[in-house]
Amino acid sequence: MLTADQLIDTYVADVTRLLPSRQRADVALELRTLLADEIADRPGSALDVLQDFGRPDEVAARYGTPVSVIEPVHTRLFLKFAVVGSLFFLYAGLMRVLSGQSGSGTAIAVFVYLGVLLVIFAIAGWQRRRWPSTAAWQPHPRTERFSRTGRVAAIVAWTAGTVVLFASGRIFPAQVFTFTDDFARLRGPVLLSWILVALGLQVILVMQGGWRPWSRTAELVLNALMCVLFAWVVTRPIFTAGPTDEAMRNAMVLIAAVTIVSVASRVWHRTV
């Protein structure tokens, strides 16, 4: 059982060890006297008085101006980047494992990403405190949310990709683009069906010239479906030739990883 003096000494030590060294001795001397006065004047145990005084870390923080590594105004954005970015790396890692490659670097990639993100936000917070005027709002033109040109480019790119994937065996005589029987039997047709539906949606979007509530939902669902579909497709070989197969499956891993970031971002904006 500690005496009142011992309790005070312990409490003061817990507070002052969190203070800058130049402040410690002075604050300790003052705090010890003040706590002794409080305990002498109040009924009840010394422990009650000290617990009412507050947690040592909170009391220590009140002695100075606490500095946030991440500014409160940036916290939501930081969480968003942290969650979405981590999902990207975890999904890419999962896809690599599913396609028979090593996923051992995934955890390191996530921690490095979070570390870099923390440093970036810490610098942004410091800049905001050091030069507050840089954070002032500036008028700017609203960004265009729907680009018809961009959508047409996407249709062209996806059509070209589909042709390369499904017709290259006929275009190029070499055996490097020959599908495995397993892919041609089930995964290929399912993948082609998804691509055709997705292309159809893009064509409708271009014709309508903008988003509708249903088309936003449809694209979100199709993209989420794509992540699942690609994860399934890359689990087994697509082409009989090893290098072609590896290149294609790596490309699909990358596309799916980027898409899952987009899906997570849109879900976040819908729910937050």
């Binding site: 003052e30 006297t33 003040l34 409080e38 009412d52 005084f53 507050g54 009391v59 009140r62 002695y63």
Partner: protein, 115 residues
């Protein structure tokens, strides 16, 4: 939930007046515990874990100056308004008067509307 919110709002309201209340009592030298007692007797209880660090912060900002005294018992740190602190106190007191007058009119208007 509503109770939690109202507690926080009341805390914020009180936090706004703590600095002015402390400055008002430090035209003469006082040490922390004595100051807390003085404020409490006048109806403004401030938690000790809030008041004592606040005195230090006000001193580091130049609003207070302090000195150690050992004449009456253990060494105690006494605080008093500095010249800057006196000017700060006058400014805050004027703001407070303006604010209370405006709030008085607002609340009075609200009471009249209820009748």
């Amino acid at each position: 939930m509503v109770s939690d919110a109202s507690d926080k709002l009341e805390q914020e309201l009180r936090r706004g007046v703590v600095v002015l209340a402390v400055l008002s009592q430090l035209r003469t030298l006082r040490y922390g515990y004595e100051l807390r007692q003085s404020l409490s007797e006048r109806g403004l209880s401030i938690e000790e874990g809030t008041l004592y660090p606040l005195l230090r912060r006000l001193e580091s900002q130049g609003a207070l100056r302090s000195e150690w005294q050992t004449a009456q018992g253990p060494p105690r740190r006494y605080y008093v308004l500095s010249d800057d602190g006196r000017r700060l106190y006058d400014r805050l007191a004027t703001s407070w008067q303006t604010l209370t007058e405006a709030m008085g009119q607002l609340l009075e208007g609200d009471r009249n509307a209820d009748r």
